[in-house]
Symmetry: C2
Subunit: 455 residues, 2 copies
């Protein structure tokens, strides 16, 4: 057989042991989101290409999996001179869950509540080069509130995230917090023009990876004047490598105030951050929120507070989000304020597995019914139905093999009990129940088998 049986490159199969862990984690996330009043939204995996294109920057657009046109339309596209990928394709796999949310909100605005609080736990696709730990299909767990500019939104979203990580027994994570207005003000007071704002943002975003010197180089290359970069880096360097004790959120706030207080954007941003910290003070995120003037986050659609989950014991982030008051306006005539977070659940799953954290409830059956021969098989199947009626998960063995072989099979499946109803048991109106942990075999009255197994 020449056909490969592997999944496509960058895609994964999840066998039952994996899906049990994954579903367990998804369910915890879903429970927490629901406890905050978020409701589930499902959007199609496939979107019109014009919905997706132009929302993620040039690099993002390249990473959208595009779906080939069909029939006549494909023929027509092929007949045109040097057709591009957007001629050959009409739809694409969604790249994230935020742009579909914006589209759905614009489409259903009139039937949606004033505050649209939705979560979505679903796969997204990116045509990235596959590598260790980077997949082309992965699940995102998003939570967003559309319809309010209030910092209570940020407080609730960050609290829900912290609560999820606590339920998943993560220790010592931090929610890094910054504000696009702080970054804009930083850039402005450094004398960098609005036309170079994005360039400066991209450079600052790399501080963690390339250090002050690297950022300096990047700013030079992007044509920002020496005087401006000196001012910008001068301010930023005051926050670099401080001891935690010295740099409480209060200290960071007042240091920012000192440098940015002259800028209106800066004052507004600092007042929002201060309000958010006060609203979060007594909630699950209180101890985790960490003001970080370096945090920039790549996506261009953020407008207000931005956040990202990090921890010392893993590199990179477990998810990020922020306020994007302009994105929905790309789909309708007016801007609608919105803020959300996307939890990188694949990464969380890898960490949980590495740490063997969490007691995942067994996905296996509670009992297996053995088979002896064709004559007794119908009664064995009937017994299985009886036990299911008592809320047990019941597997049956499907062929007529020696009991020893059947016990070994059940044991290999981690099924704790085997129920036997052969000719002897039928003659005596009992069921033999084998406990595979103790090896003990007991004769039990048929109507008492379920209770016996439940212990």
């Amino acid at each position: 057989m020449s056909v490969s049986t592997k999944p496509a490159s960058g895609f994964r199969d999840f066998l039952p042991a994996d899906t049990a862990r994954r579903e367990y984690v998804f369910q915890i996330i879903e429970e927490v989101y629901q406890s905050y009043g978020f409701e589930r939204l499902d959007t199609p995996c496939v979107e019109r290409l014009d919905t997706l294109m132009g929302k993620y920057g040039e690099e993002g657009d390249q990473l959208i999996f595009k779906i080939l046109q069909r029939g006549e339309k494909l023929q027509r596209a092929l007949e045109s001179e040097s057709p591009s990928d957007t001629d050959l394709a009409d739809m694409g796999l969604r790249y994230d869950l935020t742009v579909p949310l914006a589209r759905v909100y614009a489409q259903n605005r009139n039937s949606l509540p004033r505050y649209f609080k939705r979560y979505q736990i679903a796969p997204v696709w990116r045509a990235d080069r596959p590598q260790r730990g980077r997949f082309r299909e992965f699940v995102q767990c998003d939570v967003d509130v559309v319809g309010s500019k209030s910092m209570t939104v940020e407080a609730e979203v960050t609290a829900a995230l912290a609560q999820i990580l606590k339920r998943l027994e993560f220790q010592g994570f931090r929610i890094h917090l910054n504000h696009r207005g702080v970054l804009r003000a930083l850039i402005s007071v450094s004398g960098i023009g609005a036309d170079k704002e994005t360039d400066a943002l991209v450079a600052i975003d790399k501080l963690d990876k390339v250090g002050i010197d690297g950022v300096q180089k990047e700013l030079d290359e992007r044509g920002i004047s020496a005087a401006s970069s000196a001012t910008l880096l001068g301010i930023l360097s005051k926050f670099k490598n401080p001891s935690d004790a010295e740099f409480s959120n209060e200290n960071t706030l007042s240091l920012l105030e000192e440098h940015l207080g002259s800028d209106e954007d800066g004052r507004q941003a600092l007042s929002e951050l201060s309000e958010l910290l006060s609203l979060a003070k007594s909630g699950p995120a209180a101890a985790s929120l960490k003001l970080d003037p370096f945090l920039a986050r790549g996506l261009s659609y953020y407008t207000g507070p931005i956040f990202e989950i990090r921890s010392d014991d893993f590199s990179g982030s477990l998810g990020g989000g922020g306020r994007y008051d302009g994105l929905i306006g790309m789909f309708m005539k007016e801007d609608v304020p919105a803020c959300g977070f996307s939890l990188g659940v694949e990464r969380i799953l890898v960490l949980l597995e590495e740490r063997q954290q969490l007691q995942i409830p067994s996905a296996n059956a509670d009992v297996m019914v053995a088979l002896w021969d064709a004559d007794s098989a119908p009664e064995c199947i009937k017994l299985a139905h009886e036990l299911r009626a008592s809320s047990l998960r019941v597997d049956i063995y499907n062929d007529f093999d020696k009991y020893k072989k059947q016990f070994a099979y059940a044991d290999s499946r981690n099924i704790p009990f085997v129920a036997i109803l052969g000719p002897n048991e039928l003659a005596n109106s009992v069921v033999s129940v084998k406990n595979l942990k103790t090896g003990e075999q007991s004769e039990v009255a048929r109507r008492e088998v379920a209770a016996f197994i439940k212990g």
Copy 2:
């Protein structure tokens, strides 16, 4: 704004009221599957094109959504002379869940148990022309057992399906049951050669829609001799429009025995059907299994028993399945017996909605915390966290509006209670709780609010 905000043609958004119903139904299906010892498998939405092509017949291959090549590979494909869609695309969206199962089984055979009993509840895609009730993305709920030829497999699979339909409060459904060996024998004893078997099957499959005359015409057109079609239709007409009482499964079996008993395939098939009926006799499917010598089912990969769910009060089927002992052999060196069923859950959801069947638990919050002003907001958020810690689902209102407006909002969201913690309440160490059903407002000690709401 010129961008459409509709989903792509043939695709659907599910707003929270829809997702609540859908998730509730999926959960019932999942619970029943698990109670039969089935475990969850997840496979990627995207498969290599060579995994998908050639498994569904020519018509099926046409309906696979194909994913455009990227970068250099796309350029190379475009430079070739008259590139076909399989040159331009390397992957596709899965068309069903059975072929991916076969691939996964072949790939993981050594680590899988002797009986691989898996379910999968997941979307599939077909590039069909969208029309009322026919979508291009829809969820299938599949259950399959790989690794046994025993009719206990068919008995368990059909029992699980019947149990799901009962839990969903469907009345009067039937599981139509036939066997590919019965059809093969019918064709053989009618003197139709093996080379015309598929043609005859396709014709028989249309009996329900086009009647005996239509099938006659189809057989003629497909070059089957007049004598052979007369024999075939002569046998089939004995089963046409019988009263139910006259045509019990026993009667159908003996009539088939009478006509097909001379054929070895036929004898084997009838003995398997008879065994299945006996194994199912005391289970949830017992009253629903209905032998139907006309049932053919389109897919070419079926080899043994085949089934389909129907009912008088809707046209078409709610799902179908059967034994396919040859499919996995397309992916590995040896054949592995397998049997499964695919439940058409989208159709079930439409019917449930039309009938307003099932009490779906509310997806809304149990209580909404109102906001008064910036000073009291942190304490309101804290109250929300306290109530969540008591396992309540708690929404908060996000802006500072008049309470009357906030009550109206909560009421429109079907949230039964509003908790108020304004300056007065804070001064008196109480919380005001408004019951929106009765209109009654009560002052409650803060630590008793959760208990008060839970009633």
